[in-house]
Amino acid sequence: MAHADGRSAVRVRGLSKSYRRTSAVRNLDLDVDYGEIFAILGPNGAGKSTTIEILEGNRKRDAGEVSVLGEDPGTAGRSWRAKVGIVLQEASDAGMLTVVETVRMFTNCYGTSRVPSEVLELVGLGGVAGKRVRTLSGGQRRRLDVALGIVGMPDLLFLDEPTTGFDPEARRQFWELIRLLAADGTTIVLTTHYLEEAAALADRVAVIVGGQVVAVDSPTRLTEHVDAAATVRWVDADGVHVERTDRPTELVRERSHPGGELAELTITRPTLEDAYLRLIGQV
């Protein structure tokens, strides 16, 4: 879904970045549409954070074209920053302020902003508004990070590994929050090394390995990047049988007898995890 002017929310061409002699990102291309939830998925050290930090304007690039909301983040000014929300990978500032004081401090940076109490309700911190930031749990701290990222009602929200260290319950709640923001029209770009996070949240996923995009697609279609053959497995008097086939129904019909059951019959197709592991093993 392109914007009215036909451009993407994020457009990257030939992006490269090296640290001393180590190449972190190599000739990377990326397009994120307006209104999309876009996940950058990859193992640790793949170049996810370097990429998103360049998009946020927090890191310089060595080469390539980058356009975020129509501007180059390396040179964009204050009005651009008002339209972009950023949730950093780690921050431990403002420990001595209370939650609501911190949010209020950040609302003062914007012309148009959310009401502090409302944004705290939205991220589920309404109950701890009066607590000092340093007393928050890791998950609460992360929710505060998101609150600070969205107080300015950004058109585009960057989240760098937002749920690292969360327990499964906290992670699900966090996903609900992101979906809520997306439903409100916010374009979301997040990095993650959790496959299930990309699968649960993203409209499209870019798999990054070794600083390069190896695949971009919807989570369901990513599996098509690998062999889609099904695996049929059953047990009979001769032992365990495992066969790969494009026509599993036909195979099962051939092997079965009226009234008889194939013991321990399973038919499996490659999961996204299989696809992902295959993809990151390719480079």
Partner: protein, 285 residues
Amino acid sequence: MAVDRAPADALPRHRAPAAEAPLPSALRIGMSRVVPELKMFYRRPEQVALTFSMPAVICVLLGSIFTAKLPNSDTSTGAVIAASMLAYGILSTSFINLGISIAADRDTGGLRRLRGTPTTATSYFVGKIVLVAVVSLAEAVILLTVGVVIFHLHLPSDLGEWFTLAWVFVLGTTSCALLGIFISNYASNAVSAAVITNGPSVALQFVSGTYVPLVVLPAWMLTIGSIFPIKWMAQGFRSVLLPPEMVIFEPAGSWEHWRIFLVLAAWTVGGLIGCLAVFRWSDRT
């Protein structure tokens, strides 16, 4: 694994651009940061205690050691030190305090988070500068009280002397604050900032006349001390807090107000240029 999601283009997601209120000015954002900055300062009791008590305690200790009257005068060495100690107080609340707090903001990611908002460097520094002004003023009141009550210093008696006290205070605070901002760029965290601000500060106390009267210093120490702002701040404070006849104990034989002004102004301008040249939002490149 796959979760039911409506395809992206089925939802009318992208909002129509609402009428946006204009961004607040850099100054206004800066002023809105003053109260949070003050809260972040005074909610660390150990930091508050250290900042305010160190100069006062050292002043009382040194002043109680050097109780003898200076030759042909009614003023004790302790009083000379107490008047000069105001310079150390300001150094502590501006240079050391700012050097540490900015390095901490950079280390914790606070600066980088601000960088992602319409906050400018100017806004950030407006908040810091007002913080330093308030804390330095409080420090000056404490040290003047100690000086007057224990060491019988005289507060300025006419408007001209108050004016001198004011401009030495303002220029001294400003130049030291800028140097604090400058030096914070060379610290990777609050601990290393504490080392690189306190280290030179302690050394400078000895050559600037705040720990030991200038008259007893060897010439080379006096030369080194004369390069840096503390010596001149201390001299300015002595000129209004000590009886006029004490001028004979100044190495130059005069209070040198013009020279104080020029040196502090030069450090202010130099500090500003240095800050603009090296300030960075984060350690990332």
